[in-house]
Symmetry: C2
Subunit: 424 residues, 2 copies
C-alpha cells in the first residue's frame, strides 16, 4: 500500500513528466519570454521577497544556526539584482536545443540526424541558498527541462515566494505551472520517495555538502550528477618560472579559499624546493594560511625559522575549504603525477613549468575535469570557461564533466528518415 506521502510525491513527479513533453516543443522565443517575465517579477516583488526572506533569517537565528549558514540564507537588494542579471544572462545565451550534432545519409539512403533535446525532468536538491531556486529554474526552462525543486526547509518562505514568481511567469505565458514545482513538504522521507521516481525523473542534481551528495548518490534510483569535493593540487616543476609560480599559488589558495576549485595541496619538485618554498610559505603565513608540510618541507621551513605543522596522511585527503594548505615535496614529475592521481578528487589540477614536454606529460597523465598549465585552478568555472552560466562543477566522468552549463542539461535523440527501407 502506498502511503499518502508516496502518492503525493508520485503525482508531483508524474505532473513534471507530463509538463516536460509540452515544454520540450516550445520555441526559444517562448522559453526566453518566460525568463524575461521572471526577471520582471523579481524586480516588482523585491520588497516582498526580502520580507519573506527575513522570516527565514529570524527563524534561523532563533534556531541558533551558524553565522555562515545565515549568511548563505540571506537575500539583500544586491542579491535580488544579481538574480535578475543572472536570468538576463541566461536569456542572452544560445539555444541549447535542436542543435544538429551529426547528420549523414546511410548507405541504404536513410537520412540520420542526431539532435540535441532536453533531458526531461530534473530534480534539484539544495541546501540553504534561496537564489538556487531562480538560477536552477532558469537554466532548466532555457534548456526545455521540467524541474522539481527541493530546497532546504530553513529557506522555505524565501523559496516559496521565488517559486511563486516563477509560477506567475509560467501562467502569464500560458505554460503549465507543473513545469517548475517546489516541494514544500518538509518531511525528509519526501526526498527518499523522490529518489525512487526513476520513471518520471531523468536526473538528480544535488548541491550542498559532501554528506548530502553522498547520501543522495547512494539512495537514488535516478542517475545523479555529482558535485563532490575539489582536492586540487598545483605542481611546481623544477623548470618553473618561480615568480609566476608564486603568484599563481597565492591566487589558487587565497583568492577565495571556500570554493571547490581552490588549491588544497602544493606539490613541489625538490630541486627548487629550497629556493621556492621559503618565500612562498612566508607569504602564505602573511595571508593567514596555516601550513601542513611533509618532512622535507619542515626541514626547509626550519632553516628559515618558519613555524609550520607536520602533515599527517589525512591532510592530503582533506578538502580544507579554508586558509589551510598541505605541502608535499617530490623528486620527479612522475612522482608528482602518481601522488596527484592517488589523492585528487579529479576536479582541477595545475602544473607550473616552462618545459612544454613536461606540461604535455602532466596533462596526458592527470585524471581530472580540468588540467591547467601556468595558471590558477580557480579558473575551473562555467563563466570563466565561456559557458555563460553553470549549475555547478561535476566531478563525474559520465555525461557532464567539469562545469555544467546549458548544453550539459541536454541529451540527444536520433531522427531517421526513410522511404520504406527494411532491415535485411
Amino acid at each position: 500500500m502506498q502511503s499518502k506521502l508516496q502518492k503525493e510525491i508520485e503525482k508531483l513527479a508524474k505532473q513534471a513528466r507530463d509538463a516536460s513533453y509540452k515544454l520540450a516543443t516550445l520555441s526559444i522565443e517562448q522559453r526566453n519570454k518566460v525568463l524575461s517575465e521572471i526577471a520582471l517579477l523579481l524586480d516588482k516583488n523585491r520588497s516582498q521577497i526580502l520580507e519573506e526572506n527575513k522570516k527565514d533569517i529570524e527563524a534561523a537565528k532563533k534556531n541558533k544556526l551558524s553565522a555562515a549558514f545565515i549568511d548563505r540564507l540571506t537575500l539583500t537588494d544586491n542579491y535580488v539584482d544579481s538574480m535578475i542579471s543572472g536570468v538576463k544572462q541566461i536569456i542572452a545565451l544560445d539555444d541549447p536545443l535542436n542543435r544538429i550534432l551529426e547528420e549523414r545519409t546511410l548507405k541504404n539512403a536513410l537520412l540520420l540526424k542526431k539532435v540535441s533535446v532536453p533531458l526531461g525532468v530534473i530534480l534539484m536538491i539544495y541546501e540553504s541558498r534561496p537564489n538556487v531556486t531562480i538560477d536552477a529554474a532558469s537554466l532548466a526552462l532555457k534548456s526545455g527541462n521540467s524541474i522539481i525543486l527541493r530546497g532546504g526547509s530553513d529557506a522555505l518562505n524565501s523559496n516559496k515566494i521565488l517559486a511563486g514568481i516563477i509560477t506567475a511567469a509560467l501562467e502569464k505565458l500560458r505554460i503549465h505551472k507543473n513545469t517548475v514545482q517546489l516541494v514544500t513538504n518538509p518531511d525528509r522521507e519526501a526526498v527518499n520517495i523522490l529518489l525512487e521516481q526513476e520513471k518520471y525523473i531523468d536526473v538528480v542534481i544535488p548541491r550542498g555538502g559532501y554528506g548530502l551528495i553522498k547520501a543522495i548518490a547512494e539512495h537514488s534510483k535516478i542517475p545523479v550528477i555529482k558535485h563532490y569535493q575539489g582536492i586540487c593540487h598545483t605542481y611546481v616543476d623544477d623548470e618553473a618560472d618561480l615568480a609566476l609560480a608564486e603568484k599563481v599559488c597565492l591566487n589558487a589558495k587565497c583568492q577565495r579559499p571556500g570554493t571547490c576549485n581552490a588549491m588544497e595541496c602544493l606539490v613541489v619538485n625538490e630541486k627548487i624546493a629550497g629556493k621556492f618554498l621559503p618565500t612562498l610559505l612566508k607569504r602564505y603565513q602573511d595571508e593567514g594560511v596555516k601550513i601542513f608540510g611533509d618532512e622535507k618541507t619542515l626541514e626547509i621551513a626550519e632553516k628559515h625559522s618558519l613555524e609550520i605543522e607536520r602533515a599527517r596522511e589525512e591532510h592530503y585527503d582533506t578538502e580544507f575549504l579554508d586558509l589551510i594548505i598541505a605541502v608535499k615535496v617530490v623528486d620527479s614529475l612522475q612522482e608528482a603525477i602518481d601522488f596527484i592521481n592517488a589523492h585528487s578528487t579529479k576536479h582541477s589540477e595545475a602544473i607550473i613549468s616552462k618545459n612544454q614536454k613536461k606540461i604535455k606529460e602532466f596533462m596526458d597523465n592527470i585524471d581530472a575535469s580540468a588540467v591547467f598549465a601556468n595558471t590558477s585552478t580557480r579558473f575551473n568555472d562555467g563563466f570563466e570557461f565561456g559557458l555563460g552560466a553553470e549549475i555547478g562543477i561535476s566531478t563525474d566522468k559520465l555525461h557532464a564533466r567539469g562545469p555544467v552549463g546549458l548544453k550539459e542539461l541536454t541529451t540527444y535523440k536520433y531522427l531517421v528518415f526513410g522511404n520504406g527501407q527494411l532491415r535485411a
Copy 2:
C-alpha cells in the same frame, strides 16, 4: 574487517585503475597492434577455443540448461571467424581519443581545449555469450579503457581461454596484463563487491536480461549504462502509404523478433484501421505472429474472420521478444503520441505517414533514443547508424543514448594553457 574476497576484488579494481593510466597514453598505433595480435591469436588457437567451449556446453547440458541458453553459449568455427572480423572492424575505426571537441581563447588570453579521453575503468557484467569477452575487451582497448570482465559462470572455460588470448596479446606488446582482467571467482558476492569500487571503476555496463540490469542498477555505487528493454511501437497514420506501412510493420516485427529494437506494439489510426488491419493481421498470422488486439481491433478482425486474442493492459507493457504483437487503434496523432510516451521504454519508435508536418510533430513529441519515419525500428543499431561497432543500445538519457560505440566509451577533459593569469 575486510573479508578475503573484499581484499581480492579491491586489489583487482585498483590494478585496473593503475593500468588505465598507462593505457590512456598509448598511441593509436599501439592500441591497434594489440587488437591485431588478438585477431591473430584467435585464429591460431581456434581448436583450443572450441575445445574449452565444448566443456561449458557439456556442463550446461548436464545441468539441463535451456536450448536457448546453450545456443547463446555455443561457439563454432563461424563464430570464431566473426569474432576475428569484429576485431578487425574495430581496428579500422577512427581513434576516439584526443579529438579536440572545442577550442577557444578566453578573454584573458587563456587557451582552452576540450579533448576526448578514456572513461578510465569499465566493468562489464554479462551472461552466457562468450564472444562478449572479445567484443567488449576490443572496444575498451581501442578507446583506451581498462576493463574488468565478469561473464556468466556457465561460460567460464570459454571466457578463460579468450581472456588468456587477450593477456598474451597484451604481454607481447608489453602492455600491462591488468589492462584486461577476467573475474574468475564464481561467488555472486564478488559482483556486489565490484559494484562498491567507485574509487577505481568509472562505469558499469551490464548486458543481459531485465532482472540482471535492474539488480545491478539498484546496487551499484558506480554509474551504470543501462540496456533495458525495447517496447517499440510503430504508428500507422491515416495519411500513410499503406503498402509501405505493411512491409515496414512486417519487417519491424518478424525479421528478428528476439532483438530489443523489434516492434512490440502496432498503433493504428482508426480512419484507416478497417482498410489496413485485415491484410496485415492476416500476413502476421501467416508468419506465425500471435496477436493481442484492443476492442476496435477485435471488431475488425471478427468481420474478416481472423481469430485474435483480447489485449489486456499488461500486454501494452510487455517486451515480448517473440512472434507476438499488441495492437491499439487510436483516433488521432495526439492519442498515438500520448499512448506511446506512456507505454514505451524510450528505445525505438516509428511513424508511417506521408504528411511531413505530422512526422515532425511525432518526432518532436516522442521521447526515445531513436525516432523513425517510414522505416523499421530494427535500424536502431550501432552498425546500421555507421558507428562501426557497438557494445549495446542504451536506454539511458545521460551520457550515452541509443547505440553505444567507441565515442560513448570516452569522456573529456579541459586543458587550459596560461602564462600566469590570476582569478580576480
